[in-house]
C-alpha cells in the first residue's frame, strides 16, 4: 500500500531543505567573511561533497536496505559517473594546462600525440565528450549499461547473498585496476584533475562552487523523493518481499531477476549522478575512488545511519564524513579503527542504525516498565509455540 509522507517526515525534510538549500548558501553568499556566521566557500564545497556521498548512500540503500542486495562495489558507478563528467571538464581546460596544448596534460605526457596522431592526440572515444550534453548523457548511460550487463549475468545465474557481494566487489576492483593503467586512456594513476571551467564558468569562483553545492542538494532532494515514491509503489513492496522471502516471490509468478536487475540499474544511475557532482567540487577523480574500501565505506554509512529507510543513509553519509574530516585532522592514524569499531558497534547493538535508535529505546523502556506487553507488538506466538508439535523436515 502506498504510504504517504507522514507529517513528521515532511517537517524533517522541509527543515533539512531550508537549511541545506537556503540557509547555508545565503550565509555563504551574503555575509562578509569576517562575520561569525559566515560559511566559507571551502566548507560549502565540503558539504556539497557530503551531499553527493549521501546520494551514493541512497543508491546503496535502495539495493541493500530495500532489496537485500548487498553491493560492495557501488563506488564503481559513482566513479563512472564522475569520470564521464571529468572527461568533459578535462577537455574544457584547453590551452591553460601545463603543456599549453589542446589535449589534456596527461595525454601529452603519455605521448598520445604520436599514438593517436590521426585524431590530434585525442583518443576517438574522448572526442564527443567535448559536448556537455554528451557527457551528461554518459553520466547516466554508462553506469546504467555496466550495471545492466553485470546485473543481467549475475541475476540470470541466480547469484545471491554473499556471492553477489563478493562478485560486486571483484567488479569494482577489476575496474579499478583497469583504470590504473596508463594505456586505458583515462589518466591512469593520477586520474583526471586540474579542471578549470564548467559550462564556461570558472570552477574556482565562489558563485560556481555555490551553484554546484546547490545542484548537489537539489539532486539529493530529487533522489530522495524518487526513492520515496518508488518504494511506496507495489514495486517497492515486491522489492522488500524479495529481500525477506525471494522464493515466495518467485513462486508467486514474479520474475525476481527482472526486478533485481531494474533496482540494480536504477541504483547505478543514482550513484553515477552523485559521482558526476562529486568530481567538479572535489576537483579530481582517480581510480582510488573505485577501490573496494570506498564501497565498503558507503556500506558503513548506510549501516550506521540505518538501512531500509531513506533518512538513515543520508544521516550516515553526512554524519560519518563530517566525523571523518574532523578525526583525520585530530587523530589521523586511528581513524580506520574508529570507523571499524563504529561499524561493529552499530551492527551488533543497533541493527536499525541511528534512525532506529528512538524505536529501540522505546522498546527497551516498554519491556522494562510494563508488565503486560502491548497486544500487537507481542503476538500470540509466544503462547502458541509452547504447544506446537516440532516441525518435521525432510
Amino acid at each position: 500500500m502506498a504510504r504517504p509522507f507522514s507529517n513528521r517526515e515532511l517537517l524533517f525534510v522541509g527543515l533539512a531543505c531550508l537549511i541545506a538549500l537556503v540557509l547555508l548558501p545565503c550565509l555563504n553568499a551574503f555575509l562578509p567573511p569576517e562575520h561569525p556566521f559566515h560559511v566559507g566557500t571551502f566548507t560549502l564545497s565540503l558539504y556539497g561533497k557530503y551531499l553527493t556521498y549521501a546520494v551514493l548512500a541512497l543508491g546503496v540503500n535502495l539495493l541493500w536496505g530495500y532489496t537485500g542486495l548487498l553491493s560492495l562495489g557501488q563506488c564503481i558507478f559513482f566513479s563512472l559517473g564522475g569520470y564521464a563528467l571529468g572527461m568533459y571538464l578535462m577537455l574544457k581546460i584547453g590551452k591553460l594546462g601545463q603543456y599549453q596544448k589542446e589535449i589534456p596534460d596527461f595525454m601529452v605526457f603519455l605521448e598520445f600525440e604520436t599514438k593517436y596522431a590521426a585524431t590530434g592526440g585525442l583518443p576517438s572515444h574522448w572526442i564527443p565528450f567535448k559536448h556537455f550534453w554528451f557527457a551528461a548523457a554518459a553520466v547516466v548511460l554508462v553506469p546504467a549499461l555496466v550495471a545492466y550487463i553485470f546485473g543481467f549475468l549475475a541475476f540470470r545465474s541466480r547469484i545471491k547473498g554473499v556471492y553477489f557481494s563478493i562478485l560486486s566487489q571483484a567488479l569494482t576492483y577489476a575496474t579499478c585496476l583497469m583504470f590504473f593503467r596508463n594505456d586505458f586512456t583515462f589518466g591512469g594513476n593520477n586520474g583526471l584533475t586540474d579542471f578549470k571551467f564548467i559550462l564556461g564558468y570558472d570552477l574556482n569562483a565562489p558563485a560556481t562552487k555555490r551553484a554546484l553545492y546547490l545542484c548537489s542538494a537539489l539532486l539529493l532532494l530529487l533522489v530522495y523523493v524518487f526513492c520515496r515514491w518508488l518504494t511506496s509503489t507495489k514495486f517497492g513492496l515486491i522489492q522488500r518481499a524479495i529481500r525477506d522471502s525471494e522464493n515466495r516471490v518467485l513462486f508467486s509468478g514474479y520474475a525476481t531477476a527482472d526486478f533485481k536487475l531494474f533496482v540494480f540499474v536504477v541504483a547505478a544511475v543514482i550513484s553515477g549522478l552523485g559521482g558526476a557532482l562529486f568530481v567538479p567540487q572535489v576537483g579530481i577523480i582517480n581510480p582510488s575512488e573505485m577501490s573496494p574500501e570506498k564501497s565498503l565505506e558507503a556500506v558503513v554509512w548506510v549501516a550506521v545511519g540505518g538501512r531500509g529507510n531513506l533518512l538513515g543513509p543520508i544521516l550516515g553519509a553526512v554524519g560519518i564524513n563530517s566525523l571523518k574530516s574532523y578525526a583525520t585532522h585530530a587523530f589521523a592514524e586511528q581513524w580506520p579503527y574508529i570507523l571499524g569499531a563504529l561499524f561493529i558497534f552499530v551492527t551488533v547493538f543497533m541493527p536499525k542504525g541511528i534512525v532506529g535508535l528512538p524505536g529501540q529505546l522505546r522498546e527497551l523502556k516498554r519491556r522494562r516498565f510494563t508488565a503486560m506487553p502491548a497486544s500487537n507488538a507481542a503476538p500470540p506466538t509466544a503462547l502458541a509455540q509452547t504447544k506446537q508439535k516440532p516441525a518435521k523436515s525432510e
Binding site: 522471502s245 513462486f251 508467486s252 506446537q388 525432510e394
Partner: protein
Amino acid sequence: MTLAHKKDFILTLEGVNKTFEGFKAISDLNFYMDEGELRVIIGPNGAGKSTMLDLITGRTRPDKGKIEFGRDTDLTHLNEYQINRLGIGRKFQTPSVYIDHTVFENIWLSLEGSRSVWSTIFSRLTPAHRERIHEVLNTVGLSDKTDWKAGNLSHGQKQWLEIGMLLAQDPKLLLVDEPAAGMTDEETHKTGELLMSLAGRHSIVVIEHDMVFVRQIARTVTVLHQGSILCEGTVDQVQSDERVIEVYLGRKKKERH
C-alpha cells in the same frame, strides 16, 4: 500407462527420474491426478515427496520423464514463475510470507494480474482488488488481522496466510507441503477443514506426515517410497497394505516402542 491420454488429468507424471549426486531421489515415478481432486501424499522421510513438488514447480528439472499440466502443457522446460503463472501454486514446508508487510499487502502481492516490473510500478489498488483481498482473508480466517504485520502472526496463522496467498491467484492446482507442521491440534483441524472446503474448485496435493490429519482430509492417499509409488487408495486400504506397514507405518510403530 497409455491410459493417461484417455482421460483429462490435471497433473500427469510419467516415468520421471531424478538423481542427486548418485542418490536416486525419484525413480520411474508415475502419478496421475484428476481435476478437483484432493490428494494426500505420504511416505517416510527421504521418500521424495518434496523433490516431487520441486520437479512439478520447476525448482529442479527431471533427468528423464514427462511432467504435464492439464491436457498437454509440458512443465519440464519452464521455470518457477512461468509454472506459477499457469495456475500452479505452492506452499512451502516452512511458512514463507513477507514478514515486513501487512497481511493485506501479502495477499495484494499475490493477487492474480500482471507481474511485469512496469505494471507493478504503476499499478493502483482498486476497490475490486480490495474486495477480493478481503474475500481471501475471510476464507483463511484472517480478516481480523488485516493490518497486522505478517511477522507478528503465529506459526499457524502464517501457514494460513500463505495458503491465502496461493488462493489469491485462484490457481488450478495447489501444492501444499506439510501444512500442519508446527501447528496445534486445533489449528491442524481448522487447516484440514479449510483444505477440504477448497477441493473441487481447486485441485489440491497435500504432503503430510501427521496421520490424524491425513485421516481427516484424505479421500485418496498415495504412498511414496524410495522415489516411486508404493500404493494408492483410501486411508484404510493404505493403512492395511502389507508393504506400507512394512516401510512406513510399521517402522513408525517400531520407533515408538
